[in-house]
């Protein structure tokens, strides 16, 4: 996993009102969830990533620490950071609680944008389908690369 691949996945938006480290964390998580980051893949170290994103090193370090505490990545001494298998160390209830916070935020936003409940649920189904498709096509691509 080169620095440039990672930076293609991460797009910082300073207008979103979200702290930069949180954006990195969230975008990493979504990349892992969609399969663009496979388990066991090495991540770039802090310095080159910070340089490429032009972020403060503390910010990147904080993002990595957060990812590690959430179990998305793990540090192997002497080798670097790697993406973990998709096993979150948290209990199911905790995980669901974390997810429900995000769902609440989406619901509030829907309210602001005046999207009603029916359309909202339709949209959720649509997005789930999109991620499923993406994951499948990524798996196909990786399979094709593995072929001689």
């Amino acid at each position: 996993m080169t620095v440039s691949t990672v930076t293609m996945l991460i797009q910082l938006n300073f207008k979103s009102g979200k702290p930069a480290y949180l954006q990195v964390v969230d975008q990493f998580k979504s990349a892992a969830a969609s399969g663009a980051l496979r388990p066991g893949e090495p991540l770039p170290s802090i310095r080159p990533l910070a340089e490429q994103l032009r972020l403060n090193r503390n910010t990147v370090a904080k993002a990595y620490a957060e990812l590690e505490s959430q179990g998305i990545i793990e540090t192997v001494a002497g080798k670097g950071c790697f993406v973990t298998e998709n096993n979150s160390p948290f209990k199911k209830a905790v995980r669901q609680k974390m997810l429900s916070d995000d769902i609440d935020a989406a619901i509030v936003q829907a309210h602001h944008l005046q999207v009603n409940e029916k359309d909202f649920l339709e949209l959720v189904t649509q997005r789930l389908g999109f991620f499923r498709q993406k994951s499948e096509s990524n798996a196909n691509n990786h399979n094709q690369k593995d072929k001689p």
Partner: protein, 296 residues
């Protein structure tokens, strides 16, 4: 996370020029390992403040401390732990790039030759070329190399990237993040005064906006970005009068209404919603937009 010994501590700094106040009662505090932004309009007093930090100017009143010491009385101790990149970079006309770096190295206890070689290669600077024959961007790069290789605990940058092309600007920031912060970000502090805020947005931890010599706003960058919101609404007819405390800038244009909010964005949003707009949206602000909003 306030540590005991701030790297820079300015309290109630006043500096007059003749009868006008260049800096009037400015206070700020920079802790170790932070990247501190110092923003202000042209002529707001940024360069004056920096000159007071470097003992190039004496404060009319108030105190300035760098590493806990006053620059005036402890000149050498303070200067040997910091490096300065000025806005108008100038070198001796007879010195080549190599000679300029050797000259700067002769004044320092530590000088990192490896970093120097690396950066010279990265910037593709010809060591045998006369320093004054370089382009403006290259001169700034040379000044930055001279500052970073000295491995100072504090890096003071005064409008370092003004007048440079975008690639050089990016490389500049990458060098600060990369080569300078190498020793452990907890020990290296950056104090950058600039009005090109977009470039430094990712780097800045905390910032102060100075306006007409006075402090206008001091916030952590993340805090600022989470508190400031821009709310746009379109009404069927003339937008109603807005009279909220939290609303900073209110712009009307026909049926459109735009409010910049610092703080209670939710409350303002709800109030506006209660006025029945046609459409309503809210977005965050970059540091540069926060700067503009604060000073307008």
């Amino acid at each position: 996370m306030k540590t005991e010994n701030p790297v820079i501590e300015i309290s109630h700094l006043v500096r007059k020029f003749g009868r006008s106040d260049a800096v009037n009662d400015l206070s700020l505090r920079v802790d170790a390992g932070r990247c501190y932004g110092f923003f202000g309009r042209n002529g707001a007093g940024k360069t004056t403040t920096i000159k007071c930090l470097l003992n190039l100017l004496q404060p009319t009143s108030g105190t300035v401390r760098v590493f806990g010491l006053e620059p005036r009385g402890n000149e050498v101790e303070v200067k040997s732990r910091l490096a300065y990149v000025p806005d108008q970079v100038a070198f001796y006309p007879w010195m080549t790039v190599r000679e300029t770096l050797d000259y700067l190295a002769s004044f320092r206890q530590r000088w990192n030759r490896t970093t120097e070689k690396e950066l010279l290669g990265q910037f593709r600077l010809d060591a045998g070329k006369k320093a004054t024959a370089l382009s403006k961007g290259q001169k700034t790069q040379l000044a930055l190399i001279g500052a970073v290789c000295a491995e100072p605990d504090l890096l003071i940058l005064d409008e370092p990237t003004s007048g440079l092309d975008p690639i050089v600007r990016r490389e500049f920031i990458q060098t600060v993040i990369g080569a300078y912060q190498d020793a452990g970000a907890g020990q290296r502090t950056v104090f950058v005064s600039t009005h090109l805020i977009t470039e430094f947005e990712g780097l800045i931890d905390e910032f102060t906006i100075i306006d007409n010599g006075k402090e206008a706003l001091t916030l952590e960058a993340d805090d600022a970005r989470s508190r400031f919101r821009k709310i746009r609404a379109r009404f069927a007819g003339t937008p109603p009068a807005i009279d909220f405390v939290a609303a900073r800038n209110i712009k009307r244009d026909g049926r459109e209404l735009e409010i910049t909010v610092n703080g209670d964005a939710e409350m303002v949003l709800n109030r506006i919603k209660s006025m029945g707009p046609e459409s309503l949206s809210m977005e965050g602000l970059t540091l540069e937009e926060i700067f503009v909003a604060t000073l307008q």
